[in-house]
Amino acid sequence: MSTPIKLELGGAASGSLRRMQNRMFLCLTGAAALTLLVPLFGILGYLVTRGIGAINLDFFISLPKPVGETGGGVANAIVGSLMVIVMAGAAAIPCGVLASVYICEFAPGSRFSSIIRFVCDMLNSTPSIILGIFAYGMVVLRMGHFSALAGAFALFVMMTPVVVRATEEILRTVPNSIREASVGLGGTRWQTVWHVVLPAARSGIVTGVFLALARVGGETAPLLFTAFGNQFWNLDPRQPINTLPVQIYKFATSPYADWHRQAWAAALLLVIMIAVISSTVRALTARR
């Protein structure tokens, strides 16, 4: 017969030590979370205090004024940014989602699919200025001049792999059992994707797509020598076009105080636009 082992659980010393350890990590993790908030609110606060003064109706409806004249606005940059983003998105969203459907649904586990995945990761970690140079070589040099199209192309190259990877993450969360159900009823792969998988993944894909849009919407580097910028109105995609990030860059790197104020205001506007997009998407998809 063996002697029963006496368990000594919850001794006073170990108890207080564990509680102290717990409290320590509560403080440590909380402090890390706070650290994250500091730059975020710092940026917002700074943008608001510096930029709010230059925001007025004129800022939204006027063109940038030449040096020496006060006032003026970034209306052409707002419209230009939207145009470039819409063009890039119109190509990148279908391309990204369809490519993702291919690698997740039609050929999962194939060699080609894993190559695509690898290429997407490579592109995602490529500095955006390099994508800008690539678009410069591919589009600007061929056309002979800067254009909104070239800018949209650069953003398209940047956005597609983001959409592919985001969509892929969502498609993975769709349970395999409902794919089997559809295939078991005589559905083709495409019918299964179209009628079952994509509807089940819709809200997640929409979220991913808009976050990708918001991300490329703030890019400056790929646009610097593609869309280039323009002090005037332009709605022709074959011509250079003004965009918010590039306008901010030009304002901010100028030596003029008045332009600096406009840079703050434009930056504030850009951040607000991106925040509105992100939170709208969140609100819309959270209800489902």
């Binding site: 586990g109 159900a181 559809s182 078991g184 009823l185 559905g187 019918q191």
Partner: protein
């Protein structure tokens, strides 16, 4: 045994990569009868079942060798339309897997993807299938509500209704009641009994009492091999093989 053979598997082997999960199985599935496949976990019975409508095709690493005849036609022959095979041989899965759609749309799905457009035909067929799955009275007033709001037992009967809607000839059931409570299980079993008038049924089950209750024929699988197949009464009272007897008497497995 004068019953006509509906499906005939001949020397069928199925591989997961290099691992052979089903080994040279030959078996007749008889028309308008319930055939139960029993055996311990991992014995290959589910894999064999899924081979009967080529569901294994959608798993990239799976490969089949041998032949499976459906009404005399080899479904693994090169030019066979696998979509057509699955339309004729329906499947109900272990875990109920309704689409995140309404009850109505779940049942209508198979019709829609197979090209049925007429609303009237679809409505009639949905009602007929739900009645066939003994579910109509419970759901007729809420056909447009989400299928995901149903109870587990109802969901499984919905999946049966969904399979019935395209009027298959054979119904494969992979442990259809293993996740259900005894009352829901009883309903499924009664349903199987009713369905065999119109369908040929193959059911995989872990529950030997269930196999004894619902089936006419029983096949016993062990380590990928079909050890013995016979009328259910024979298998459970005087099996020929020692392994079968050991399994059904609970000595292993």
């Amino acid at each position: 045994m004068t019953d006509q053979s509906k499906i005939s598997a001949q020397d069928l082997s199925i591989f997961y990569g290099a691992n052979r999960a089903v080994k040279n199985v030959s078996m007749e599935i008889r028309e308008n009868r319930v055939t139960a496949l029993i055996g311990p976990s991992g014995c290959g019975k589910s894999t064999f079942l899924r081979a009967l409508n080529r569901m294994n095709d959608i798993i990239p690493s799976v490969r089949a060798e041998g032949r499976v005849f459906l009404d005399g036609q080899d479904i693994y022959a090169p030019r066979v339309d696998v979509i057509d095979v699955r339309r004729r041989v329906g499947m109900v899965f272990q875990k109920s897997n309704p689409f995140p759609k309404s009850i109505f749309e779940n049942v209508a799905y198979g019709l829609r993807i197979n090209g049925v457009r007429s609303r009237k035909v679809i409505e009639q067929q949905v009602e007929k299938s739900l009645r066939g799955a003994a579910l109509w009275d419970e759901v007729k007033d809420r056909l447009q509500t989400s299928a995901l709001a149903m109870s587990g037992g109802q969901q499984q009967r919905l999946c049966i209704a969904r399979a019935l809607a395209i009027e298959p000839e054979v119904l494969l059931m992979d442990e259809p009641a293993s996740a259900l409570d005894p009352i829901a299980t009883q309903k499924i079993e009664e349903l199987i009994h009713d369905l065999k008038r119109d369908y040929t049924i193959v059911i995989v089950t872990h529950n030997m009492q269930q196999a004894a209750r619902v089936s006419d024929f029983t096949g016993f699988f062990l380590m990928g091999e079909l050890i013995e197949v016979d009328e259910t009464g024979t298998i459970f009272t005087k099996p020929t093989r020692k392994q079968t007897e050991d399994y059904i008497t609970g000595r292993f497995g």
